[in-house]
Amino acid sequence: MDTRRTASRLYEIALGVLFLGLGVVGYAYVPGMVKGWAFALPGTTDNALSPEFFPKLVFCLVMAAAGGVLVTTPRRVDILPAATTTRREAARVLAIAATVLAGLASMRFLGFAPAASLISAVMLFIVGYPRKLSGILVLVLFTIAVMAGFRYGMRVILPPGALGWYF
């Protein structure tokens, strides 16, 4: 059988198992995920009043859907995009994600404009854009325009950094 098709099936099985596990664990631990209580009315309203009632139903739905994925996997013949992803593509996504995360973490100290400009510059290098200098210039100007638009148009001050209000 085509390796990509096998990989697609494995991904689907992993997906089904992951969500089945989530459903089972979630259902079992719902009471621990709820803070608070609900008073019971005499009669039959206790269940519906409980804040755990609906989450339990939803976790059952998660289990049913995951079961559906597992049952239909052997009959599926299509190839998932995940099975055709190249190493270069995966590495690029991870690099972009790491850049954005680092940029977000630095936003508290640097402020919106420097952090966003930094993210933009690194992303241009990651994707291999040929005209880097002009690209960085355009994106820095765009960031400043967005910041000014939000500040003066909508009275929203985007995260200021330790460097002060103007950043």
Binding site: G36, F54, I96, L139
Partner: protein, 496 residues
């Protein structure tokens, strides 16, 4: 009533509203015309801007954006054979062959005016249906709301792509995410895992921006290979008179496609991505020359465009009158209305008639704006298509940050947005549809509170669902849809 209508018209013709509709339509068309950017992404990215505007100005901007985005996708579908949005995928089948024959201008002209006619039809449906359905909706109790919302959730099947279980999985994840925060009945905090920022729940805007905006950035930039952007062929637009004469010749197709678009738009949960293909299929089925479809038949351009834009007006029927979004775009628009303090549902027309009727008028003013702006864009589409992808999508990243932060001035929201951007990317890689997740997320509060309140009122009995006629009808419809889908999914194999 008359005074309300006059004040609504005055509000809708306010220069600020007209300017907002104009700008919204222009940005929407631009966004729709850029492959990879969609009306949904545009709505998610730009809806935070409207929180700082008055309701009519803000929603007018979003209506313009919606309509412009729905049409804009046809520009690239016709010129370079890449639909800007899923709503225009069927247009490409015949639009692109026409452009290759040197008739791109004719295809774009027909596509624009077909969109305007469809838009008019959808808006008329809203105007006619709203008062009748509005009165009917006032009879809805918890059982009826639960049954209708449940029926809407089954519509998830139609936006589930190739696998119903995966659609259901996405929907159940949407429901789970919506449960984070405060219990709507008792006020207890649920599933916050000790994170104080989650006690108010996850906002629909960070979720939508992440799933539609950030995930697209990751998708596009990871696949960027540095090639040159596609060049559009030169287009010559025929005179308006000949375009109108040609459209008139296809009045039957226009009427049937409008009816298909409006009918599908009025159904909760299904939108233009579905209607354009159905209208295309029907037009081919009843065409005098079905063998020319796919080779450059203008009917194959008119039918999907008319139907995609007829969805716009009609999708406001379930959104405004029941608080149940007609499609993903109206789901985001509903989030914007709620942020403005306007709760869509049967009481909206009673409590805010001025805003409600101003939206009516805006539907029509945006239609004229679309015609005007569309004429400009079909002449300049060639330049838009050549925008460099990396710069464009990195700019979108910056907008994702700013737009998300603006909602609550919260950096935590940006983190949430980014996490869902990554989730959206993984969903695409695993062929899991995102639309059911966002629909279920939005419908969750209605479905949970109506279900639990119904049970409290009926002392735990589900029989109330079949004892009340309206809820019984929706429950029967739900069972019929679920039954037919189960039979279908077990009968056929599962290829795409």
């Amino acid at each position: 009533m008359f005074e309300t209508l006059v004040s609504a018209a005055a509000a809708a013709f306010d220069p600020a509203v007209l300017a907002a509709v104009f700008v919204g339509t222009a940005i929407g068309t631009l966004i729709g015309a850029i492959p990879g950017l969609t009306a949904t992404m545009g709505m998610a990215l730009l809806s935070p801007l409207t929180f700082f505007l008055s309701p009519v100005v803000g929603v007018g901007f979003l209506i313009g954006l919606y309509k412009g985005g729905t049409f804009g996708g046809s520009l690239t579908a016709v010129l370079i054979g890449t639909p800007g949005t899923a709503s225009n995928a069927a247009t490409m089948q015949d639009g692109y062959p026409l452009a290759q024959k040197g008739e791109g201008g004719r295809a774009l002209g027909l596509s624009l005016w077909g969109s305007v006619v469809g838009d008019f039809f959808g808006s008329i449906c809203l105007v006619i249906a709203a008062p009748v359905i509005g009165k009917f909706a006032l009879n809805f109790g918890h059982a009826e709301f639960f049954a209708l919302t449940l029926f809407s959730l089954t519509m998830v099947a139609y936006v589930s792509g190739s696998s119903l279980p995966k659609g259901l999985l996405a929907a159940s994840l949407g429901l789970l995410l919506a449960l984070i925060g405060t219990d709507p009945i008792g006020g207890s905090t649920r599933m916050t895992f000790g994170i104080p920022e989650l006690s108010g729940g996850i906002g629909v805007i960070p979720l939508a921006i992440g799933l539609f905006g950030m995930s697209e950035v990751l998708w596009q930039l990871s696949a960027y290979s540095g090639g040159r952007a596609a060049r559009a062929p030169a287009t010559v637009i025929p005179p308006l008179r000949s375009l109108f004469a040609e459209l008139w010749g296809y009045w039957r197709t226009i009427l049937s496609s409008s009816a298909i678009g409006a009918g599908i738009g009025a159904l909760p949960g299904v939108g233009a991505e579905t209607s354009n293909w159905i209208a295309y299929g029907v037009a081919r089925r009843y065409s005098k020359s079905p063998e020319t479809f796919g080779k450059g038949n203008v009917e194959g351009v008119i039918a999907p465009e008319v139907s995609a834009n007829a969805v716009c007006g009609a999708s406001f029927i379930p959104t405004l009158l029941f608080g149940i979004p007609g499609d993903i775009v109206t789901a985001i628009l509903m989030g914007a209305l709620i942020a403005q303090g306007l709760q869509p549902g049967p009481m909206l027309i009673q409590e805010h008639p001025d805003v409600f009727y101003a939206l009516y008028v805006t539907m029509f003013t945006s239609m004229f704006m679309l015609a005007f702006i569309g004429m400009f864009f079909i002449r300049s589409a060639g330049y838009i298509i050549r925008l460099p992808k990396p710069l464009l999508f990195i700019a979108v990243t910056i907008l994702c940050f700013a737009g998300t932060y603006a909602v609550n001035s919260s950096v935590f929201d940006i983190w949430v947005m980014f996490v869902f951007g990554f989730v959206g990317y993984l969903f695409r890689k695993l062929d899991i549809p995102v639309a059911p997740l966002i629909l279920a997320f939005i419908l969750c509060e209605t479905i949970e509170s109506s279900f639990r309140r119904m049970l409290i009122q009926s002392r735990g009995s589900l029989m109330v669902l079949i004892e009340r006629p309206i809820s019984a009808v929706f429950i029967l419809l739900t069972l019929a849809v679920v039954g037919s889908l189960l039979i279908k999914s077990f009968k056929r194999p599962q290829p795409v």
